[in-house]
Every structure is written in structure tokens, then in C-alpha cells.
Symmetry: C2
């Protein structure tokens, strides 16, 4: 059984909220080695790494149109339908994030506005392995497509036969990915950061990955390629009370725990007896899971905490800043108004995290490790720049002149002042 | 005279667009040393560094209310008025960036929305030195205040007498800064990243600085504190033609050049003769500048390029992705529609960069070094998170169930599937 903590003092929260710390210092040099190699050798290095890491002898890095066609026919009609439903909802939610320019006249004759312009070329990384994360393809490529990115590149490792999982290829084709390349790990990130003969250099890199990928993204960011956000293990925090359904909550906790042994699961509740019932339910469901081992490992790091009030639960949650926050208690929507730090919030008994993970329309690429205190999840904004524009008339500049000239002078920047004075015939060189 | 290049081939652009590359490898260990010291010793280290780097023997790190009061009385009425005009315009432009939540029903019973929530605590860094950058105080603190940040911390180095420039203190007070601390350089960034006895740990760090500050911000970001954006030397690119006013353009180029010897100045034009006239004007104005030396050094790295068409100029500009883009040619507004990569764009003869630097209302904290390809300048968005929320009814979940269950199964995540099935009585443990 998992220990249930009772009303821990605020001074103890920091320890209870500790995440597994990621130390890249040992990886760093080997990742740097891989990246340097790709920078220098280009495609040659990628072929070599595919052989070494993916046991795959490739003749081409690019996925061919025929391979995509084959993938689409290999998908069951049911999965195809599911992907289209999810894609449609993701499209609806992210399309609503489009913004028209608003022209603001800050003073008469001084017109300022912002315009959303798509990032030209984005690169998406999708990990390989046993579970093909084709849902992430939808979550990244659909907003990129809505934003109007000119080119959407996707890199994913091949299997030992040189193939990519058909669900990934099909999702990529549904979501408007421009080109797909068979390369994984740090080498894929390097390829998108520097460009190779086959793979174009991109302006921003998105997507999840193991610690090599995460480290490579960090290094790429330092060298000037933007990335979506810092990565860390997935997390859920559930706030419940005695009115919550223990089976539902147990299922939600397990759906987080099955991600991996470093997943974080936190249950906060105002009723200890209910928490015991939820634990029983959890163990019953756990026993039937194919990924039971991973989930068990993850649960060993989980926290079950009983607070006196829902307000204390919310204070703890805001201090933890969970990636996913499920509010399963009574009056959940009211409590949701008090959320200050979270990636994505799921309100009420019939809103499992799985809905947002796959198909409700919200994005599942979210800030982990407490980054929700300062970062938002991926959205349309992640694929655009908002460029400011201004247009000033001569009269408008006259209105502004005193402020600009005085401030520039006080900052000791005479040429800044002159740029105004000369336009208003107050200065002639 | 500056060499005027004629129609360089696209293949040559990369070299022409090269920025001074910043190499932190030599700084890194000394910055890490400073940061570790602050992490371990807290205030004690900050007092020590103030003595060492600022020659300032402090008794308190916090600026007192009396010091702010004194600063306000030390400001000339003219400068006070200028600061208030600028603040008002910045407030207008950034207030218009506030967004109401829009509730999107992606399917019947599936309601999703985003809510803007302020980052709780932000830290602003303002460099010291000869020119007090009080305009940057306004540019960072005003959007933070509009966003609703609970606490706005400002760090800036003291002078040898332990004082902060009155213009910085006054601007901070006008813009709603909560608390000001006398500490500069990498140690100030460390203080805000880790927290000390006097200075609270912040969620995100903003502001310009020298290479030590920039390096410290990068390290803080790696360790989990968000930062505004990667920093680099300031830049302007001007697009002109024979209808442009050579004195105005020369003044704009100089207002960039006077920033520092590593500032980047690029002039693109479709008329070589006009460019010669602009150069003459430039030299005349240069001779009268107090910061003539810095500007001269910066101009030695500048590029004057003559293209056949304005379209080529714009293509070059989009490829360079300037921090500031001034479009001074005929039909400037039309050409502005083709901007894809820039931090802030200034349209027409009476829109000098100085206007946006100080008082028109747009933000002057902008992406440099080509980062405008993927980053936006500072805006209200920089001080908020957009948290997604969703609320699903039982019927809504029924609508989504097939998509979620099928996709979760295909990704091998059974517990994700169960979280839906159990709610619809299709699964009992």
C-alpha cells in the first residue's frame, strides 16, 4: 500500500514536490560527439548511426511516397477513423487560436500593431520504440499546418528493417507533414539543427524523446535553434474528495503511471477513508495492466496526501505546478478558477486525462517538472512569431518627440535623439 | 567610406549575414563559479561581489522607500513627463494584447478553452554603467504589471557609492516594480534563479546585460528558470530607395551604431548613387556624436548592399531576420506585407527606430542574431501562461470514446484506454 500523508506542513512541501532531477553532465559529451559528427559528416553520419543504434541499414533517409501509401493501406479503418476524429478536434481547438492584427493608435498619428507570421520551417521529432507515438504527430503537425509553416519536417528512427511504424506515417500524412526522415536520437536533433544533404536545417525543433534527445535539444537551443520547451517525465496531480469516483480516479492515476518508471503521480484528497478505497481499486486495476511493471515502479514514487480542505489541495497543486491536473471533486469548476500553475486542467468526473492526450482537441505537449510556472503547453503560438509593426505620421512623431528626445538624452544616446530631431528640422548635421 | 556591394548572389548571403558569434566557453566556468557561490552563500556572496565588481560597500541589498522617494524628486519635470508619456503608450499597446478565454466545443459535450494566468514572480535585470537603461525598466515592468504578476523583482548594480541611478528607480516606481535590489552581473541572475535571504527566487528572468549576464541567464535556463529570450548584439536593417531621405536614414543607422562596437548595421537600397549621398550624410552626422568612437567601430562591420529590386532587398532581410527593420522606401506599407522574419518593423519616413525604442508603445526587447526566425519580442505573452482547460460530459465522453480507446490501444497504452472504458461501464476491474 502507498503511504497516505496527513496534512504535511508547507515547510515540507518542497521535499514532497521534488521531481527526479535530470543530470545531463554524463551524457553531454557523448551527445556533443554525435552532434559534431552530424555537423561534419552530414548524411554519412546519419546512415552510420542508423546502423549502430537502430540496427538498420538504410539506402535512403527520406520516407518515399510509396511507403506512406503502403502505411495508409495498412491502417485499420477503425484506427483511421479515430485519427481523423482526433485530428478534426485538434484542428478546431487550435484554429480558434488564430488572431487578427489589431491596430492600436497609441497617440494620434502613431499606429502600432502585431502580426502573426508562421515560422518558416519546423522540425518534429517522434521517438521510435515499442509504442508508436502517432498521437504526438497530430499534436505537433496540425498546429504547424494551421500556422502556415512552409515546411514541416519529421524525423523518427527506423526499425531494424528500415521501416517506420505505419501509424506514424499515416498520421503524418493526415496532419500535413511535408517530409519524413528515418533518423532518431541525438543525431536526428543535430540533423534538424544543422541541416544535412537530405535533411533541411529547421528554425525550431519540437517533440519528446529520451534523455539523449532532450540533451541534444538543449544543446541545439544553446547554439541558436529554438525548441518547444524543456522536457521532463510526465506527471499528473488529482484533486479528489469523498464525492469522487474511486475507480475513475484510480484509472487516471494508472494512465499516468504506465508511461514510465519516472512518471509522477500525486493524489490529493480531503478524505482518508476514500483514499484507502481508491488504493484498493488501484491495485485491482494495476494487476490487469500489460504495462504493470512500469506502472508499479512509477507508483513507488507517487504521493498520496490527505489535506483538510480543497483550498489546501489547490495551494499544494499550484506550488507543484503539475503538467496535468485533474479536478475530480465536487464543484470542480469553481475550484478550477483558482488554478495558477498547471499545464492542462481536466474538470469533473467524465474528463479523464486520456481525452486530452488523444482526442478532445487540446494539446498534449505540456510543461513538466514545474515548468508550468512559467511555460505554456504547445499551441498555435508555438509555431508563429508575433512581429510588431509601427507607422508614424509627421504629426505623430511631433507628438512623441519630446518623450523620445528627453529619454534618449538621459540615457546618453544622442544619435537616438538625432533620428527624431533631424526629421522635425530641429537638427541639421 | 563603406564599401557598397552590388547584387551579391544568394550563395554569398550567408557570409554577408554572419553575426559576431558569441563564445561562452571561456566565460562559462567563471560564471558557474559566481553562480555556485551565490547559491551556497546567498546574500553574503552578493555583498562580496558588490565590493569586488562594483566597488560598492553595501549595508543592505534592498533599495529603501526613501531612496525611491529621493530619486523621484531628483528627476527633472521634463524627464518625468517623458517617462509618463512613454509609460502610457506602452500600457496602451500591451493592454490591447489581453485575451479573453474562448470556449470551444470541439464536439457536443466536449468543452475546451485556454485561460491566461500571470507568471507569479518575475525578475528583471537592468544593467548599470554610464547609460542608465531606464527605458528597459518600462518595457519589462509595464507588461508584467498588466499581466498581473504578483511580484516584480528588479536587480541592478549599484555605483561605487552604493546608489542606483535615480532614473531607474523612478521608472521602476512608475511601472509598478515591487522590490529593487542592488546587485549586478552574473550574481544578480543567480540570486533571482536560486533566491537568497533578501532576494526571492523568481519564475522567469528578463532583461539585457553583458556577456556574463547573458551566460548566467543561459545557465539559469538550463537549470530550470525560464528566461525571456537568447540575447545578442543589437541590429538594424534599413531598406531604402532613391525616394528615401538620406539624412533620415543616416540618422537611423547611427542610432543603431552608437549602441556598441558589436552593433550590426545593414543598409539595402536599389540606388547606388543615393547610397553614396547617404554615406556622406552619415559621416557628417557621425563627427558630431559623443559616442563617435563606438559608432565608428560598429560601422566598420556594417554592410551597404545595392540590389536591383526592393523584392531582393526584402528577400535578403527575411533571410537575415533583423531585430529592427526600417522600411524607408516608396510604398513601404505594401512591402511590409512581405516581412516574414523581423523583430519589429518601422514603416515610412517618419517612423525612426528611436520611436519604438522609447515611446511609441511597442516593446524594445526583441530577438537578435537571427532569432527573429523563431522568436517574438517581449509582449504581454511573455508574462503569462496560457493554461488549457477541458470539461466533458458523460455524453461528450461517449462521443470521444472510440477515438481515444482505439488510439490508446494502438499506442500500447491500456491504462489510458481503461480510463475511458471504466467511465462508460465498459470495463470493471
Amino acid at each position: 500500500m502507498i503511504e497516505i500523508l496527513q496534512n504535511p506542513d508547507v515547510s515540507e512541501w518542497k521535499v514532497l514536490q521534488k521531481r527526479p532531477s535530470l543530470d545531463y553532465s554524463t551524457l553531454r559529451s557523448s551527445v556533443q560527439g554525435i552532434m559534431k559528427n552530424v555537423k561534419k559528416e552530414g548524411d554519412r553520419a546519419l546512415f552510420q548511426f542508423a546502423l549502430q543504434f537502430d540496427k538498420s541499414s538504410l539506402t535512403s533517409l527520406a520516407v518515399s511516397p510509396q511507403e506512406i501509401k503502403n502505411a495508409t493501406s495498412a491502417i485499420s479503418p477503425e484506427l483511421d477513423k479515430a485519427i481523423h476524429i482526433a485530428a478534426e478536434n485538434i484542428r478546431k481547438f487550435h484554429s480558434a487560436q488564430q488572431e487578427q492584427s489589431r491596430f492600436i493608435e497609441t497617440m494620434p498619428g502613431v499606429q502600432c500593431w502585431r502580426k502573426s507570421v508562421a515560422i518558416d520551417r519546423v522540425g518534429l521529432y517522434i521517438p521510435g520504440g515499442s509504442a508508436p507515438l502517432f498521437s504526438t504527430v497530430l499534436m505537433l503537425a496540425i498546429p504547424a499546418q494551421i500556422a502556415g509553416c512552409k515546411e514541416i519536417i519529421l524525423c523518427t528512427p527506423p526499425d531494424a528493417n528500415g521501416n517506420v511504424h505505419p501509424a506514424i506515417l499515416h498520421a503524418a500524412s493526415v496532419a500535413g507533414v511535408s517530409r519524413i526522415f528515418k533518423t532518431g536520437g541525438a543525431q536526428a536533433i543535430a540533423a534538424m539543427a544543422y541541416g544535412t544533404e537530405s535533411i533541411p536545417k529547421v528554425d525550431k525543433i519540437f517533440g519528446p524523446g529520451n534523455q539523449y534527445v532532450t540533451c541534444a535539444k538543449m544543446l541545439a537551443q544553446q547554439e541558436g535553434t529554438a525548441i518547444d520547451m524543456p522536457a521532463g517525465p510526465s506527471e499528473v496531480l488529482v484533486i479528489a474528495d469523498r464525492t469522487s469516483n474511486p475507480s475513475f480516479v484510480a484509472a487516471d492515476l494508472l494512465s499516468q503511471a504506465e508511461h514510465g518508471s519516472d512518471s509522477q503521480v500525486i493524489l490529493l484528497c480531503t478524505d482518508k477513508e476514500w483514499m484507502m478505497r481508491c488504493q484498493e481499486e488501484l491495485l485491482k486495476q494495476l494487476n490487469q495492466l500489460p504495462r504493470k511493471e512500469l506502472a508499479t515502479a512509477s507508483l513507488s514514487n507517487s504521493r498520496f496526501i490527505c489535506f483538510n480542505t480543497l483550498q489546501q489541495c489547490m495551494a499544494f497543486s499550484n506550488s507543484y505546478a503539475p503538467e496535468h491536473l485533474i479536478i475530480a471533486c465536487e464543484h470542480a469548476e469553481e475550484l478550477a478558477n483558482e488554478v495558477r500553475n498547471a499545464g492542462s486542467v481536466f474538470i469533473g468526473a467524465y474528463t479523464p486525462e486520456s481525452a486530452g492526450d488523444y482526442a478532445s482537441g487540446t494539446n498534449h505537449t505540456l510543461p513538466t517538472s514545474g515548468n508550468a510556472k512559467a511555460y505554456s503547453g504547445v499551441s498555435l503560438d508555438s509555431f508563429i512569431k508575433k512581429i510588431t509593426f509601427q507607422k508614424i505620421t509627421r504629426d505623430g512623431l511631433q507628438q512623441l518627440a519630446m518623450a523620445i528626445e528627453t529619454m534618449a538624452q538621459a540615457e546618453g544616446l544622442t544619435a537616438h535623439k538625432n533620428a527624431v530631431s533631424i526629421r522635425l528640422n530641429k537638427y541639421i548635421a
